[in-house]
Symmetry: C2
Subunit: 178 residues, 2 copies
């Protein structure tokens, strides 16, 4: 389990921009669920906006659409089997927290549960739903971020489709102005 600290929401791009697969957790009417999600982009620093495709074929879609909340959680490479397992089954039939032995921790700003075993947890509220019906595209505002104290950067999984995942490598510093 990671020891975590509060993290500035305007700086979470450092974890999401490199493109990791994430878990999206949600709650609605006393039920909780988790899905694996790979189609997301940072959209703004402040407010801290993240755009995501959450297919209406996912059990989570209605839960998030109705509750207007979720948490985005970053799993690490040691959780690869859970990433695939969670992506391969539906919350309509299974309690994924129980099946995959994950701990649902309470968030502070949303009712959606945080996945305690993940490197980082971002509490999100729907900010703009106008592209949900047409593209299943949600724009979330990250309202609170919890990030592991160490390591500085997580070892993440990056999906290529058809069961292939790219493993994140080392970081380098270059003289970028941004």
């Amino acid at each position: 389990m990671y020891k975590k600290k509060d993290f500035p929401v305007s700086k979470i791009r450092r974890f999401l921009e490199p493109g990791p697969v994430v878990f999206v957790s949600s709650a609605w009417k006393g039920k909780q669920n988790i899905m694996t999600m790979g189609w997301h982009t940072v959209m703004e620093f402040s407010p801290s906006l993240i755009g995501c495709i959450i297919s209406n074929q996912n059990h989570s879609f209605e839960m998030i659409k109705k509750s207007r909340e979720c948490a985005i959680n970053i799993p690490t490479q040691d959780m690869a089997k859970k990433v695939v397992g969670i992506g391969n089954c539906s919350g309509s039939e299974i309690d994924k927290f129980k099946k995959f032995k994950l701990t649902a921790a309470a968030a502070s700003e949303v009712d959606a549960p945080l996945i305690q075993e993940c490197y980082a947890n971002f509490e999100c509220k729907v900010y703009d739903a106008r592209l949900v019906n047409r593209y299943n595209f949600f724009i979330f505002e990250v309202v609170k971020a919890h990030v592991a104290v160490s390591p500085k950067y997580p070892r993440t999984l990056h999906f290529r489709g058809d069961g292939v995942f790219m493993l994140s490598g080392r970081s380098i510093k270059l003289p970028s102005k941004v």
Copy 2:
């Protein structure tokens, strides 16, 4: 230089979903430009849709908004200095193809130039501009894709902000259903 082949546009997610920094190239009124871009997501397989944030602070913004076209090009780790250099200067003052010694190749479906030195080139047309004014968010359709014959996956750069880039690592296969 990579030898390239036509690639199915519905399968380009394998290169963009892991989150690489890309070059966006554009043309308008006889001028060409390149910008570095890291905020993008796959949105649909077919039509092949990519959502991107292109700030209106970039010289490329108006060129793309007016021409309604661009190319998304994937640079590899050996091009790291060009990635940073292109991100650090503006096309309002500089011919970036010339300054960074890159080759503008003709596309087949768009007037935007392809960057020949890149691993892959995706010819894009604006598909939906309704979030451009509010979020600088363009939805592009990839209408044609050119991808290097080998290697199967490129070694890409993934931006974390503040000059830090994650280098893509090796790929693994897991029993995912998608």
